[in-house]
């Protein structure tokens, strides 16, 4: 019985079927399956499979996103029971993300947030048009390991530097790492403003975050 439900959970993530994933999470709770098992034995292997196939070029970004969303739906249902049992999922790291002040582009930032969160990071998304002080406050509040700052415009990208400076002024550097992304950003820009890293895409952002936290060997 246990194996069957775990297999169905795995499949629901592979199918990117959030409705099925949610229903299976509910069923797990009703049947008394430990929520942590549901996540680790049921849903996570589905996401790992999708990640593997993505790496092989067999599945694409929308497949990943749908799998991630299905997984998020399931976790949201399982979380209250996990909290009640004081069971906690291992958190790879805590990340605060947002788009810089004056910039309201969010698709890329959302993509990074979703990929990080399904890769085991705890993600706090501050949204768009975020003032530097908000990044600092949120980093403090959530005990963040990494701050991800997005900018799409050459006129707003200077805001990425401002966030680095604000963190420095708050005495939170270099403990809190800063990663930057967005069309105008680059490796050299990251270096110039004293950020810790840059990624061209969401998949790379996960690898970068893992590398910065020294957990890149943990999983693929």
């Amino acid at each position: 019985m246990g194996d069957e439900i775990f297999a169905a959970m795995r499949q629901s993530v592979i199918d990117g079927d959030a409705v099925a994933a949610a229903a299976l999470a509910e069923k797990a709770l009703a049947d008394g399956v430990p929520p942590l098992d549901a996540i680790e034995i049921g849903f996570v292997p589905g996401l790992s499979y999708v990640g593997e196939q993505f790496g092989l070029g067999e599945l694409f970004l929308p497949d990943m996103m749908l799998a991630a969303r299905a997984m998020q739906k399931a976790i949201a249902i399982l979380e209250p029971e996990m909290a009640r049992q004081s069971a906690t999922r291992k958190v790879v790291g805590r990340v605060v993300i947002g788009t810089v002040k004056g910039d309201i582009h969010e698709i890329g930032k959302n993509l990074v947030g979703m990929m990080l969160s399904t890769s085991g990071f705890e993600v706090h998304d501050l949204g768009v048009d975020v003032a530097p002080d908000r990044f600092v406050e949120a980093a403090r509040e959530h005990d963040a390991d990494i701050i991800g700052v997005s900018a799409l415009l050459t006129t707003t990208m200077a805001g990425q530097r401002t966030v680095v400076q604000a963190l420095e002024a708050a005495g939170m550097r270099p403990k809190v790492k800063v990663i930057v992304g967005g069309a105008p950003a680059s490796e050299s820009w990251a270096a110039e403003i004293g950020a810790d890293g840059y990624s061209e895409d969401a998949i790379g952002a996960v690898a970068l975050a893992r590398k910065l936290l020294g957990t890149d060997a943990a999983s693929a």
Partner: protein
């Protein structure tokens, strides 16, 4: 096909159609349906007030505006179908009349492949000036976008300094794609009026125009909309460009992404018309498909080429000029991929009849400026323009006398007819047509010569300078803007 025996402009040229009239109708109807029921976000108080006064439903919290289809259709009716982009040198004025394709430099890159060191580095104001100066000397480049971002200048005055740098280094028309607030727009238009010789001259022969980006799907940036309204008030042409990309910021299907992009563009153009009926506007698009692996904007696939042709048919349907994103290869260096992508995209957009074509010179999906690529792009432009001239079939072109003179088995090499007409044949500057042995001895020659051409122009080309008083006036306006960005806002824009 035309049966005319004399080749007059617009008759002999090849024409391509990828959408039937019925298909265009379907896209139009679907677009109106989306604007009316799904809505488009206009996060601008000014825009929302205009929409509300014209029968649209406005949600002040989300900024989403839902507009009855007949309001959009009636508004678009007042858009002028043709007008002229002026230039400092009137001989370089550009008619946007559906019969010409004008190529500009691409924009707005963030890095430059340095023409001397060949390192990739961040772009500066000097690069903006240098690129404009080289483009000034190239016949193939008809007008300018700000090719790269002047990242060494403060954001508060950057867009203004960039445009001033273009005027200071070229007599050709300048179009900005980085003026995105009402305040910046008001100042740059003040500057344009100064260069043009007054507001009326600016309205009659605007030597400055504006391009704004939409935020796909179905949204606008408030600043871009406010800036567009400032342009519209001054009679400065403004266009809205959609980059709605399949599977990312638009549906995975091409038709679906056309609908999304079209809704963004025509809603913005309709707003301009409602505010200032008859103001010059244009349709702009650079749609593509997302890279399914990375999620990146690609630029240069078959979808892009189809978008290029389809968008032209849509802009014809709305009877407004079109600015089409072509060139802008995803390649990292001027290579096979760059030639393939830029050749096909330029051909598709040109043969479909785009008025403005963007743009030459950028690599890596419009990120890295390359002078070599710019020069090689002008070669592509030459090929495409030659194809657009089509095949005249008048008596002289049919060459019956020459054929009779040579007869069977002769040659045409030494015929006077040949000497008269051979220069009408396209000539390669950079395509490598040398014998194999010469190529093997020096395979990089065409690339090197393209770069050398740019270096020569960088060293030697002296564009016609601005009048010193005008030059100083531009600085004065920029300084006034730096002190108070709202200095030049009109009463309408302040309301």
């Amino acid at each position: 096909m035309s049966t005319a025996t004399t080749a007059t402009d617009g008759e002999a040229r090849p024409k391509l159609q990828v959408l039937s009239p019925a298909a265009i109708r379907r896209i139009h109807t679907a677009t109106l349906d989306v604007i009316e029921h799904v809505g488009v976000r206009f996060p601008s108080m000014r825009a929302q007030a205009i929409w509300a006064a014209n029968g649209a439903t406005v949600d002040p919290v989300s900024g989403i505006v839902r507009v009855p289809g007949h309001v959009i259709e009636a508004a678009l009716e007042t858009a002028p179908p043709a007008y002229v982009l002026g230039a400092r040198n009137p001989a370089q004025d550009l008619p946007l009349d559906g019969r010409h394709v004008h190529l500009a430099t691409d924009g707005c890159g963030i890095e430059v492949l340095d023409p001397w060191t060949l390192d990739v580095r961040r772009s500066t104001l000097q690069d903006v000036a240098d690129i404009a100066r080289v483009a000034d000397a190239l016949d193939a480049i008809a007008f300018h976008w700000v090719a790269v971002s002047a990242q060494d200048r403060p954001p508060a005055t950057r867009p203004l300094e960039e445009i001033a740098a273009v005027w200071r280094n070229s007599t050709k028309h300048a179009q900005s794609e980085s003026v995105v607030t009402a305040e910046d727009a008001a100042t740059v238009i003040e500057m344009a009026a100064a260069v043009n010789g007054g507001r009326d001259a600016l309205r009659a022969r605007p030597l400055f125009s504006m391009m704004q980006c939409t935020i796909s799907p179905l949204a606008h940036d408030g600043g871009s909309i406010d800036a567009g309204l400032v342009a519209a008030e001054a009679g400065v042409p403004v266009g809205y460009m959609t980059m709605a990309s399949c599977a990312f910021s638009g549906p995975a299907t091409i038709a679906g992404s056309l609908v999304v992009g079209n809704a963004e563009v025509i809603s913005a153009l309709a707003l301009m018309q409602l505010a200032y009926p008859g103001c010059p506007v244009y349709y702009a698009a650079a749609q593509t498909a997302m890279d399914l692996r990375s999620g990146a904007y690609t630029g240069g696939g078959p979808e892009d080429f189809l978008f290029g042709a389809a968008t032209n048919e849509l802009s014809d349907f709305y009877d407004v000029p079109l600015s089409m994103g072509a060139y802008a290869t995803g390649a990292k260096t001027p290579d096979w991929q760059a030639g393939l992508e830029n050749g096909l995209s330029a051909f598709m957009a040109s043969v479909a009849g785009s008025d403005m074509l963007l743009g030459a010179g950028l690599l890596h999906g419009s990120r890295i400026w390359s002078y070599e690529q710019m020069i090689l792009d002008t070669e592509i432009d030459g090929i495409v323009k030659a194809m657009l001239r089509g095949i005249p079939t008048d008596d002289v072109s049919l060459a019956l006398e020459a054929i009779a003179e040579v007869g069977p088995g002769g040659e045409y090499l030494t015929l006077p007819h040949t000497r008269t007409h051979m220069r009408g044949l396209w000539q390669a500057k950079y395509l490598d047509r040398r014998p194999y042995g010469q190529w093997a001895a020096d395979p990089e020659k065409p690339h090197r010569e393209a770069l050398e051409r740019a270096r020569t122009l960088l060293r030697d080309h002296r564009p016609e300078p601005l009048d010193p008083a005008l030059d100083a006036e531009l600085d004065r306006l920029i300084t006034a803007h730096a002190a108070d960005p709202a200095t030049f806002l009109s009463a309408d824009a302040r309301a």
